[in-house]
Symmetry: none
Subunit: 195 residues, 4 copies
Amino acid sequence: MDGFQRRREQKKQAILLAALTLFMKNGIQKVSIAEIAKEAGVSQVTIYNYFESKHQLTYDVFVFYIESASSQFEELVHSDLPFPDKIRMIMFSKKEVAQQIHEEFYQYLMKQYSTEGNLFENLYEEKVVPYFSQLIQEGKDQGYVDDSLSEDAIRFYLEMLRTYMQNEENYTKALPLTEDINKIFFYGIMKGKQE
Amino acid sequence: MDGFQRRREQKKQAILLAALTLFMKNGIQKVSIAEIAKEAGVSQVTIYNYFESKHQLTYDVFVFYIESASSQFEELVHSDLPFPDKIRMIMFSKKEVAQQIHEEFYQYLMKQYSTEGNLFENLYEEKVVPYFSQLIQEGKDQGYVDDSLSEDAIRFYLEMLRTYMQNEENYTKALPLTEDINKIFFYGIMKGKQE
Amino acid sequence: MDGFQRRREQKKQAILLAALTLFMKNGIQKVSIAEIAKEAGVSQVTIYNYFESKHQLTYDVFVFYIESASSQFEELVHSDLPFPDKIRMIMFSKKEVAQQIHEEFYQYLMKQYSTEGNLFENLYEEKVVPYFSQLIQEGKDQGYVDDSLSEDAIRFYLEMLRTYMQNEENYTKALPLTEDINKIFFYGIMKGKQE
Amino acid sequence: MDGFQRRREQKKQAILLAALTLFMKNGIQKVSIAEIAKEAGVSQVTIYNYFESKHQLTYDVFVFYIESASSQFEELVHSDLPFPDKIRMIMFSKKEVAQQIHEEFYQYLMKQYSTEGNLFENLYEEKVVPYFSQLIQEGKDQGYVDDSLSEDAIRFYLEMLRTYMQNEENYTKALPLTEDINKIFFYGIMKGKQE
DNA sequence: AATGAATGAGGGTTCATTCAT
DNA sequence: GATGAATGAACCCTCATTCAT
C-alpha cells in the first residue's frame, strides 16, 4: 500500500471513528453528516467521496464496530485467564470507545435497514458468535459450566449482559453490584440450590 | 368529570396510544407528528392543543407507558401465582401492545431528554421499582431467594431480562430457550454448584 | 366547491403558472423549487403540500399546458375562419404565456421521465392530435388539401412548424418571412409545379 | 505540430467528443464534469487544464460540433448529386454521432449563454449558412426552385426540418412518411396547385 | 375546540471547481 | 502535465410548529 492509499485509509478510519463515536453518543438519526464531518475534521463532501450515502456509511460503521469487537473477543478468548475471569471481563470490562456500541445503534440498524437485516445478522453471526461458542465450550470442558445447559441459552445470557452493559446508565448501576451480579450468573438466585 | 371533559380525555388517550404504538414500531424520531395525527384520526394542531410540543408529547407517552406497566405489575405481584411463575411471567409473558416498550424508546428518552432525566428516572423509581422490590422480598420470605443477594442485584437482572425481551428479535430468539434461561436465572450456569 | 376548495385551487393554479413560466424561460432543471416558490409568492413547502415532488410538479405543469393548448386548438378549429387562415394562425399566432411551450420543455419531459414517456405521449395524442386531424380533414373536404397526402405527414409538418415557432428566436426569424413561409407550406418550393 | 502538441490535441478531441456525445444523449445540465472525465478516460482536473470551465467547455463543444456539421455540409453541397437528392439528404440522412445535435443542446446554449449569444449565432452564420445559401442558389439556377421565394424563407424551412429531425422521436415518426414529407416540401399541401 | 394551510430551519446529496502531490 | 482528494454552494425534500379560519 503506497502513501496515497495509506492516507486514504487513515482518513476513512477517522471518519468511521468519528461517526461511531457520535452514533453511540447520540443515536444514528440525530447525527447529521455535517456533524460527522466536523468531528472528523473533513468536509461533508469528503464523506461522500468515501461512503456513498449515510446509509452506506452507517453500514460500514457497523462493520467497523463488529470487527473491532471481534478482535477484542478473540484476544480475550485466547488469553490464559481462568474461565470465570473471562466471563467477568465480558460483562464488566470497560471497552474502548471504538468498541462500545450502544443498544440503540444495534436496534436502529436492525430496524431501518431491515432489507439488509441479514447482512448485519450474518456478520455478527460470523464474527462474534464463534468466540462466544468457543468460550462456553471451554467452560464446559473445564467443568465450570453445566453440560445440560444449551450453548444457545448461555450465549443468550452473555450477549444480553454484554449488550445491556454497553449502556452507560446500566453500567453505572451495575458497577456497585458486581459481586452479586456475578454470583447470580454463576449460581442463580436460588437459596440452597440443587441439593 | 362532565361529558366535555370525558371526550377530551378520550381524545388525549387516543393520541397517546397512537403515539406509543408508532414510537414502539419505528422509534421516536422516525415518527412525525403528521403520522401520529393520522393514526389518531385528528389534525396535527389538535395534538398541539393537548400536548404543547413533540417533546412534551413524548414525555407524556412515557408516563402513560409507565403507568400501564405499573398497573400490570401490581396485578401480577398481587396475584396468587407461586413465586417462580411470577418470575417467569415477567420474563416471558407477551405484553399487550400498550405495554411493550421497545428499548430504543427508553434509551432515547434517557438520552434526548437528559435534562429531565431525573423526571423519568423518578417516575420509574416510584411506579415500577416498588413492585419489583415487593416481589423479590416475597421470594426471600418464601425461601426461594438467597438472602445474601442484594435486592438491587436481583432487580438489575429482572429489569435487564424484561427490557431485553421487549425487543422482538430477542424475544423470538429466547422463546425456544425458555427452559434453560429460567434455569440459569434460578440456578446459574455452574455445574454441580455450591456443595 | 366551497371557498376553501376554491382558494386551494387558485393557489395551485398560481403555482402551476409560475412554474410553467419559469420552465419556459429557463428550462426545467435550471429552475429551482425556491424560485418557483418566490415567483408564486408562497413558501417552498407549500409547493410540496400541493405537488409531492418536483417530478410530479413538472408532470402536472405539462398536463396544465397541454390542456390550455388543447382548448385553444378546439376554439380555433371550431371557429369560422377560412381554412388557410386557420393554418396561418397555427403557425403564427402569438400565444399567451400559458400556451407557449418551449421545445426544451417538451424534450426534457420526454427524456427525463422516459419511464412515463407514454403518459405524456398519450396525453398529447388524446388532447391535441384530434384537433389537428379534424383541421386537416376540413382542408381536404373543402378542396384545399391534396387528398393523396397522408394525414400523418401533414400533421407532422404542422406540428413541426408550431413547435419550432414556439422558440422565441425562431419566431422572430420567421416573422418577416411570413408570406413566403406560408407559400412554401401551401405550394412547396418548386417552380412551375406539377404540370 | 510536434509530438507533444499532437498528443495534447488528441486528448482535447477526446474530451470534446466525450462531452458532445453525453450532452446529446442527456442534455447539458444532466452531464457532470465527472461523467465527461470518465467517458474520456481522463481526470476531472485534466479537463480543467484544457478548458477552463464547464461554460467554456460547452462553448468549445459547440464550436466542435458546428465545424463537424460545416464540413459535412460542404461535402454534401459540393457533391454531384442531383439537387433534390441533396435536399432529401439534408432532411433524412442519418448523421454520425458527432454531428447529431439534439435540440436541447442548441436551445440551451442560446439560453444560458445569452450574453455570448452572438458568438454562437455568428459562428453558425459563418460556418453553416453559406452552404445552405449555396445549395438554394443551385436549386434556383437549375430551375428547381421558385425564384420568387426568398432565400431566407427556404433556409428557414431547411433548418427547421434539419433541426426537428435531429430529435430521435421526431425522426422515427418521420421515417415512414418520407415520401409525403418530401412532396410537401417540394409541392406544398395544396390540391391542383397554382393553375 | 378543531382544522387546513403555511412556514423556517435543517438534513442528505450533488456538482463545478480548487488544492496538493 | 496529470491526478486523487477536498470543498462551498446549491438543490430537493421533511418536519415540528404556527397562522387563520
